[in-house]
């Protein structure tokens, strides 16, 4: 009988209990710390009320935490075995959303399952990493470094990315592309191919510009010159910078952010939560968030390096990259370094879907670590 929570390593079986104590508690602690900071900031965002955001966020984090632990304790070979299946199911859901969206009204990103909604594009970030990891796990270096060998994984990424762009959700789609790029880089695709693709991308940019929605064009233009429309599209960036800058080194104090509490700062509980945090807790608060995230990334990469199976390494790198992209895009966007693309700050921004998908990612990364000694063949 197959037991998903027991693995045999060098004829030694890890029991569920042993696995549990193999979880990296430091890693989990960083995650908890970030989540708590998020709940505290949401409390402030609601002007000192637990509802509506902090309570919900706490519940979602709890659910996510359970999900993380469950996934951490799984046998890593299950992820490998079902990687393609999960990928195809997710792709199917994406197509459903796309078709449904065209039949229904406007942009549609959700599948309503009654109890909760699934956002297939969010799930695809995990599914694609697993599928690519499985693909490259089985590939030889020779095949990886040939053009033929990477056509299938390119398609595996471009098809969902294309579907997501049409939703339209440029941010998520770009994240998929970047994550795929990181995996390609990790597995050893030659640097010149990246240069070539990069140059190609630059040359088609004017054409791509044509296909962008007006609001996306506006975001880019506003990023390039926020003063262009200080009361319209540029308003968010300007107000965000004012909030951040006025926070100074030590911040205005908990619940004392003027920009956020007087509603000058838009979306303070979702995309711009990092701004609110930095207004109230200053540069110190912002640095704490960045450092915790750096630690999470360093740990994730050390798990990848220490894993003895190629699939696990790639999964950890892929999911860590995906997490990094969230953090970097969100903070860079609210700091006015890149255009506003609507990416939340994971663990801190209010929102259920990202919380669950990120906690699932952490679970899988922990699983890679727990199963670091498992050897997986190329079957």
């Amino acid at each position: 009988m197959y037991k998903p929570y027991e693995t045999t390593i060098n004829n030694q079986t890890q029991t569920l209990g042993e696995k549990f104590f193999n979880i990296s508690f430091s890693y989990v602690l960083f995650i908890i710390m970030l989540a708590i900071i998020g709940i505290v900031v949401l409390y402030s965002a609601a002007n000192g009320h637990w509802s509506p955001w902090s309570v919900n966020q706490l519940i979602r984090f709890g659910m996510g935490f359970v999900l993380m632990i469950v996934l951490a304790l799984m046998d890593i070979r299950i992820f490998m075995r079902y990687a393609y299946l999960l990928y195809f199911i997710t792709l199917l859901m994406l197509i459903m959303v796309e078709v449904g969206g065209h039949i229904g009204m406007g942009a549609q990103r959700w599948i309503n399952l009654g109890i909760f909604k699934i956002q297939p594009s969010e799930l695809m970030k995990i599914s694609l990493v697993l599928a690519l990891a499985r693909y490259f796990h089985a590939s030889s270096l020779q095949s990886i470094q040939s053009v033929r060998g990477i056509i299938i994984p390119i398609l595996m990424a471009l098809i969902p990315a294309g579907l997501i762009v049409m939703q339209p959700d440029l941010g998520t789609s770009l994240m998929l592309i970047f994550t795929t790029g990181a995996i390609f880089f990790a597995v050893g695709v030659q640097i010149w191919k990246f240069v070539l693709v990069g140059a190609g991308a630059l040359s088609v940019m004017p054409v791509a510009w044509h296909f962008l929605h007006d609001y996306q064009k506006n975001r880019v233009l506003t990023f390039l010159d926020p003063e262009r429309d200080p009361l319209g599209a540029g308003y968010h960036i300007i107000q965000s910078k004012i909030a951040l800058g006025s926070g100074g080194i030590f911040g205005k104090g908990f619940m004392n952010g003027t920009q956020s509490h007087l509603n000058f700062l838009p979306e303070k509980h979702t995309d711009f939560i990092f701004t609110m945090l930095s207004e109230e807790f200053g540069m110190i608060g912002g640095i704490v968030i960045i450092v915790l995230n750096m630690l999470i990334l360093i740990y994730s990469y050390s798990f990848a390096v220490r894993s003895s199976n190629y699939f696990g390494k790639l999964v950890a790198i892929g999911l860590a990259t995906n997490y990094f992209l969230y953090v970097f895009i969100n903070t860079a966007m609210v700091l006015g370094l890149i255009p506003v693309v609507g990416v939340p700050l994971p663990l801190i921004s209010y929102g259920g879907t990202v919380m669950l998908s990120i906690m699932a990612s952490f679970g899988i990364i922990l699983c890679v670590h727990i199963n670091r000694n498992v050897q997986i063949g190329k079957d």
Partner: protein, 603 residues
């Protein structure tokens, strides 16, 4: 297996590259935080404050204006306003309907309120009605449960307790217009509810009365809602003013005009302080400050008695026989005519083949200067003027304040006109005619004066020849008042003539004489034609004044001072188209002077 090892090694190497890249990118975030939160912190702190702090100007209370006895003649009254806050009202229409049961609202008013509500954010109070009475306020408060979102706000509005009687002195305040806003830097003028002096003392002393605006710093949110008060800086209230006017005398003088149109000015003959200053009819400055409807405005503008015109300083009238006082002085000073010099009046006089008539067709016989003044004989002054010439007359008139502005500071003050040869040459490119001197001798023709100038003239005669100038501000130092270069003997002769006008039977104003504890008035009547009497009319019968339409009747004038023995009050009264100076103007002047004496204004 070898290739697999390579594949693993590449992965490890590239992992290091990747993690380092990621950490570097996150370091850039930290640097950016440093740049914004440390390097540029001050700039953004300022911008955050600009966002959240809204500074409101506070209108300082306008200076109160008092009369000479400390009676308020312009004050600030609490103005109760009914306001509505849209977000506190469950159903705006229903609430307004309920309000209309207490006080009717016109369709336009209701539309305007609804428009204002739509245009503003829901927490902004919108004015429904202002200047509510106590009764209306209590009605609204009683009905409060049905009027959710409506509350009573208190503001200050200007109040003129004496209304019309002082409108031409005080003027009024009203909303700032574009030109005024351009000319004045004070940011108070940018407030829509701020009112500025538009006329009279309110305009003349605008800067002093206004004070300095205070400010209120408020914390507001992104939608402009006030969260809390940060700081309040009190402004400086406007300075209060004390005028020379005696409100009792002013009120009485205004009432004496009744339906008549005209002006009256009462001066302290020794200082020039203006005790009363009437222009009738007048307008309601309280209504003016609230704003008139276009219909009310049209009525004021089209009224043939010109309530908006300040006749005391803007009305230029022929002085008529009141001018004979000046002509007499010029004659006496010239030496050509001596007090005992007599001329004979037969009712008419010929110059070339042109006949000049005396007002009395049968003539006055032979009379000297005192008698000529008493009877206001025209022939005597034709003869006199003809002998002394226009230059001497003009010169004397100017010494007594005629022919140029007295600059009391109110708008539209006119200079009047004292003609002479140079003036005629300049204006008509013609030389002066003898007949014009003759006409000027009885204060007709080109000669024009304002009632204020006539009051000044009589004050200068009464006080023994001191060049007082009329003023609304109290005079504490009289040392700057210069003596006019004229012999007091001549002045006494003229005063004697003026005394006889009032107090000797047969004098033109004898009917208006009074004697209060030995205090008597001296004066001079004047009636000036506003139409030409035709030859035909002279041959048949000259129409009586009451037979003529109002606008063709003579202007009635009277100048006077009192008490005769110890002059204190000087007065000039003009009644437009009033008929005769003796029948219409003199009684008014007499009543005003009696009132002044009874009130004992100048002790």
């Amino acid at each position: 297996m070898n290739r697999d090892n390579d594949k693993g090694k590449i992965l490890i190497n590239r992992s290091y590259t990747m993690i380092i890249t990621k950490l570097v990118l996150l370091l850039i975030i930290v640097l950016r935080l440093y740049y914004l939160q440390v390097y540029q912190a001050d700039k953004y702190k300022m911008m955050a404050d600009e966002n959240r702090i809204s500074t409101r100007l506070l209108i300082p209370p306008r200076g109160v204006i008092y009369d000479r006895n400390g009676v308020m003649v312009a004050s600030n009254r609490q103005n109760f306003q009914a306001m509505i806050v849209a977000e506190q009202t469950p159903d705006i229409q229903a609430t307004l309907d309920e309000f209309k049961k207490i006080m009717p609202l016109s369709k336009e008013e209701e539309e305007k309120i609804k428009k204002d509500i739509k245009r503003n954010r829901s927490f902004v109070p919108i004015k429904i009605r202002d200047n509510l009475s106590w009764e209306e306020v209590s009605k609204i408060q009683l009905k409060a449960p049905d009027l959710q979102g409506i509350y009573i706000d208190e503001g200050l509005s200007r109040d003129y307790p004496f209304g019309e009687s002082m409108a031409h002195i005080l003027g009024y305040v009203s909303s700032v217009n574009e030109a005024e806003a351009k000319a004045d830097e004070d940011s108070l003028l940018k407030l829509p509810e701020f009112k500025i002096g538009k006329a009279g003392i309110e305009k003349l002393f605008e800067k002093e009365l206004r004070g300095k605006g205070g400010s209120l710093k408020l914390e507001v949110n992104a939608y402009g809602r006030v969260m809390k008060e940060i700081e309040k800086i009190d402004g400086i209230p406007g300075k209060s003013l004390s005028l020379t006017i005696d409100s009792r005398l002013q009120q009485k003088a205004y009432e004496l005009f009744g339906e008549q149109s005209g002006a009256a000015v009462v001066l302290d003959v020794h200082t020039g302080e203006i005790l009363a200053f009437v222009s009738a009819p007048s307008y309601d400055p309280n209504a003016m400050s609230k704003g008139l409807s276009s219909k009310e405005w049209k009525e004021l503008v089209n009224n043939e008695r010109k309530p908006l015109s300040n006749k005391a300083i803007s009305g230029q009238y022929s002085p008529g026989s009141t001018f004979k006082t000046v002509v007499a002085l010029a004659a006496l000073e010239s030496g050509i005519v001596r007090p005992e010099t007599k001329f004979s009046c037969s009712g008419q006089m010929f110059l070339g083949n042109h006949a000049f008539h005396c007002w009395r067709r049968t003539g006055h016989g032979s009379l000297n200067v005192v008698e000529a003044l008493m009877h206001s004989c025209d022939i005597y002054f034709y003869e006199t003027a003809q002998r002394i010439g226009i230059e001497r007359i003009a010169n004397m008139a100017r010494r007594f304040g005629l022919g140029k502005k007295l600059n009391i500071g109110l708008e539209n003050e006119k200079a009047g006109l004292i003609p002479d040869k140079v003036w005629k040459k300049k204006h008509f490119r013609e030389s002066w005619q003898q007949g014009e001197t003759v006409i000027a001798g009885i204060g007709q023709g080109y000669v024009l004066t304002t009632p204020l100038q006539l009051a000044t003239m009589v004050a200068r005669i009464a006080n023994g020849g001191f060049a007082v100038t009329p003023t609304f501000t109290r005079v504490t130092d009289k040392s700057h008042i210069k003596k006019i270069n004229i012999s007091s003997d001549y002045l006494d002769t003229v005063k004697q003539g003026m005394y006889d006008v009032v107090n000797v039977p047969g004098g033109t104003a004898y009917r208006s004489h009074f004697n209060i504890n030995g205090m008597e008035m001296a004066g001079k009547t004047g009636s000036t034609q506003v139409r030409r009497i035709t030859m035909k009319e002279r041959q048949t019968r000259i129409l009586r004044q009451d037979e003529l339409p109002w606008k063709y009747r003579d202007h009635a004038l009277f100048i006077a001072f009192a008490p005769y023995d110890n002059p204190k009050y000087g007065i000039a009264v003009l009644v437009e188209h009033g008929g005769g100076g003796s029948s219409v103007a003199a009684p008014i002047a007499s009543a005003i002077l009696q009132e002044a004496i009874n009130l004992n204004i100048l002790k």
